[in-house]
Amino acid sequence: MNARLKGSRYSRLGFALVAIAFVAAVAAPGLAPHAIDDQFPGLLNAPPTLPHVQDDAGSWHAPFIYRWQLVNQLEQQYEADRSARVPLAWFSGGRLLGSTDDRRAPLLLLGADSFGRDVFSRLLFGARISLSLAAVAAIGAMLIGAGIGGIAGYAGGMTDDVLMRATDFVMVLPAMYVVLALRAVLPPVLAPAVVFSLLAGIFAVVGAPFIARGVRAIVRTERGLDYAAAAQALGASDARLLVRHLLPAAGGFIAVEMTLLVPAFIVAEATLSYVGLGFPDPVASWGTMLHDAANIRFADFPWLLSPAAAMFVVVLGLNLALERRASGIESLR
């Protein structure tokens, strides 16, 4: 009982983490204090500007920040100008929170990157790209995988053999090399939407076999059960039998696989962007943010690791959420 309760709590925590990430992504335009390409030239790699409510004299105020002053440009050292408070403005300019002096003292909740762009804003907008790409790719993988697996399991024989060998072929392909080769034959300049479609398509194809193999096994088993024979005897067509009766039996499996694929695709996007095959500048994704920070010493500028932290949180959340689903399937068995 305790274990189930604990598992349930973890699962809820997982859902909460994922939900927060998705809400943040959807609400990015309102939550982000800046646009993704807003630059503050005097604040390259500046540390986070933490909101305060109490000044050095101990007086309480509405939330405010201190302005960063560049002390040593080459050593990237900043000091807070504590002589003047910069109040924060709520619901100003269509954004939840921002500085009242954006030009001199912008709100940088997670610091700035090496081009002086707000890491927090880029993190939120990056979540849109990274999470939606992973979600779209996972849905694509589900559609392709369920279709191939369902047909193979239902038809059997030569069709089964051909489709399963095809999935085997895709599974043994080194995905990174496939992407590199594909990218090499495409024009060097691609619009972000094309990159999105391309990556989503590749991820879907690469992820589909994992779903197809499981679905095929389930459909093949289910097809021999009495309810399937009954449906067929009542005149259900092959398509109806497959889609309405057999594939739903694989629903739990598909859900688990998709939950596994989403974090894998998030990491894959980051990996591809890290090696320069992702989205063009200034589009922000978690991977491109890590790519931009690749030559920076993270020990000196730890806020630049925030995309990695965000990925960790989302992947953890998905795994915690999956825990319950997996144990549910286990108990059913």
């Binding site: 080459l74 081009f115 060097p188 500048d281 010493r297």
Partner: protein, 584 residues
């Protein structure tokens, strides 16, 4: 692959292999964080120096490659007839102990040192010099030295009058004179002649050659090479140079080059005392942690001044290269490059790319090259002026989307190729892109491997390239490939049969005059004229040159740092280390 393509490939690969980027050279060494330069304490003999390189050498045969690792191996194991002192920029007697000049400066008679032997004990004579020139000039060698040792496109005439006297005649008067020989390490005829005669010299001394089969006149001999891991050099007991106290050189017993591809790992090892030296400058991002380490006394940090080289943006100016592309009407015009020069704020560029440790640059010479720098008019940061030039090209924001369009409504958009994995180039290209966006030009930055960029430049299939084009010498006469329209480093329009433009024809004529003149003041005047013409047409756009910082362990002494790469190891025979143990 033609010689041109090979040479350009080598040029790009060289730059690629050196991931530490912007090559340096510069002014007088200043010091910071406890720098050392001159020997203020007694020099200790013996000990091991552990340095790092980023990539394996491509070969042990310097005549066929010029990647930075191959060059360093040659510096350690070979010796030239004369050496260019990287600090004073003067040539010094090396294997040639003296020389005389005749025939109005066209003929040099070199007296070779006696009693010099190769590391395998074989005597060094004029035959080795003749063999080395023959190997360098042989078309089958096809390496970077073949063209580098030519003057006005012609070979030097080399003959030996006795085993210790060599006469070198230049085809035309050549102001830098023997300076050109610094590039040529003298190779052992007795070891390599068979390969040369068999036509396999270009493949000789590959990295699979057992170290025992190599022989040289340099201070060290290669003792061990493990691919991807390290090269170990031991002292050459037969080395010809002596220390000021009459004792043998080199001071060090052993030099180990660890191959560390990752810059961060390299720096961490230096900071933790597991490495004595890097072979190139540190990046701007690495300055802060290294400065802290220097302040803590664990490393020494040197400020060597401003680099002689700056990253350059150039457009494809080959006539007809754009075919029917309608952008040809404006993409190859001088006005576009003038507009770009005015639209990029060089201070922002230096602040962003070099974290402020850089100076604005407007032409091919940086202020570091005090001897040849033309102090001409400075291009102001003037976006409004830039827009006027763009308007002259017919580029206007016709649909008010912030991007200019040509007369037929096509956006003013072009692609800039730059090298992947080189932060200065990637960030520089981003700054240029951002700055040009402000005046309505849309720039797509594409990062590629050096090989892909080289292929694009060779085939003239590109809009623009942003790259580092390192000079190899401060003297312009040593860089004819860059200036001459027929040159293989005349990047904007390679190896022209006849000059494509009148101003390139003028540059060719001025280059020929200045490299032949014996009057230094006249050479300077002519070179100023060349830089002036360059500034009027801006075939290559320069924005800023970085300051060069290098770091080394506190064990290293007797250093003579230079802004030229390798800043510390260019004179390996006089480097010493203290007896302090290094961490392992």
């Amino acid at each position: 692959m033609t010689r041109l393509t090979r040479k350009l490939a080598l040029c790009f690969v060289c730059a690629a292999a050196v991931a530490a980027l912007t090559a340096g050279c510069g002014s007088k060494p200043a010091s910071e964080g406890g720098a050392t330069s001159a020997p203020s304490i007694p020099v200790t003999r013996g000990g091991e120096l552990l340095a790092s390189i980023r990539t394996d050498p491509q070969t042990f045969n310097r005549y066929t490659q010029r990647d930075s690792s191959t060059l360093l191996v040659a510096t350690l194991t070979q010796a030239p007839l004369v050496r260019l002192n990287r600090v004073t920029q003067e040539i010094e007697p090396w294997l040639a102990e003296k020389w005389s000049v005749s025939d109005h400066g066209q003929t040099f008679t070199l007296t070779l040192r006696r009693d010099v032997v190769f590391s395998d004990g074989h005597p060094f004579t004029a035959d080795d010099v003749l063999f080395s020139f023959a190997a360098a000039y042989d078309d089958r060698t096809g390496g970077p030295l073949t063209d580098a040792l030519k003057v006005a496109g012609k070979k030097l005439e080399v003959k030996a009058t006795d085993p210790h006297t060599v006469v070198i005649r230049f085809p035309v008067p050549f102001a830098p004179g023997l300076r050109i020989l610094d590039n040529l390490p003298i190779l052992p005829r007795h070891t390599l002649e068979a390969a040369f005669n068999a036509g396999t010299f270009a493949k000789a001394w590959s990295t699979s050659t057992p170290p025992a089969d190599l022989a040289g006149l340099g201070p060290f001999v290669l003792a061990e090479y493990t691919s991807g891991q390290r090269l170990v050099f031991t002292r050459n007991p037969r080395y010809f140079r002596r220390a000021p106290d009459g004792g043998p050189l080199p001071y060090l017993d052993r030099v180990t080059l660890d191959i560390i591809p990752d810059a961060s790992a390299e720096l961490l090892r230096l900071e933790s005392g597991q490495l004595d030296s890097l072979t190139s400058e540190i990046s701007s991002e690495a300055y802060a942690p290294i400065k802290r380490a220097a302040d803590a006394g664990t490393v020494k940090l040197l400020d060597l001044g401003v680099s002689y080289n700056a990253d350059a943006l150039w457009f494809n100016l080959k006539p007809g290269a754009l075919g029917n592309d309608p952008r040809a009407a404006w993409l190859q015009r001088d006005e576009l490059r003038r507009a770009i020069s005015m639209a990029v704020d060089r201070k922002v560029y230096a602040d962003t790319v070099f974290l402020g440790a850089g100076v604005p640059v407007y032409g091919p010479e940086t202020p570091a090259n005090t001897e040849w720098f033309w102090n001409g008019p400075v291009t102001p940061y003037d976006p409004a002026g830039a827009k006027l030039f763009l308007t002259e090209l017919g580029l206007e924001d016709r649909n008010h989307d912030g991007i200019l369009e040509d007369k037929s409504g096509r956006p003013a958009r072009f692609t800039v190729l730059t090298q992947k994995g080189r932060p200065n180039l990637e960030r520089g290209a981003k700054v240029i892109s951002d700055e040009l966006k402000k005046v309505g030009l849309q720039v797509d930055v594409v990062t590629l491997d050096a090989g892909a960029i080289y292929a694009a430049v060779i085939s003239a299939h590109y809009d623009a390239v942003f790259f580092n084009t390192d000079k190899t010498d401060s003297d312009p006469a040593i860089n004819p490939d860059y200036w001459l329209s027929s040159g293989s480093a005349h990047f904007w329009n390679l190896e022209q049969k006849t000059p494509a433009t009148e101003w390139e024809r003028q540059l060719d004529a001025l280059m020929a005059k200045q490299s032949a003149s014996a009057d230094h003041a006249e050479r300077k005047r002519l070179y100023d004229e060349m830089q002036k013409i360059f500034a009027q047409h801006l075939p290559m756009l320069y924005f800023a040159a970085p300051r060069i910082y290098v770091a080394h362990s506190t064990r290293m002494t007797n250093l003579t740092p230079s802004v030229w790469r390798p800043q510390l190891l260019w004179s390996p025979d006089t480097i010493a280390v203290t007896s302090t143990a290094r961490k392992n």
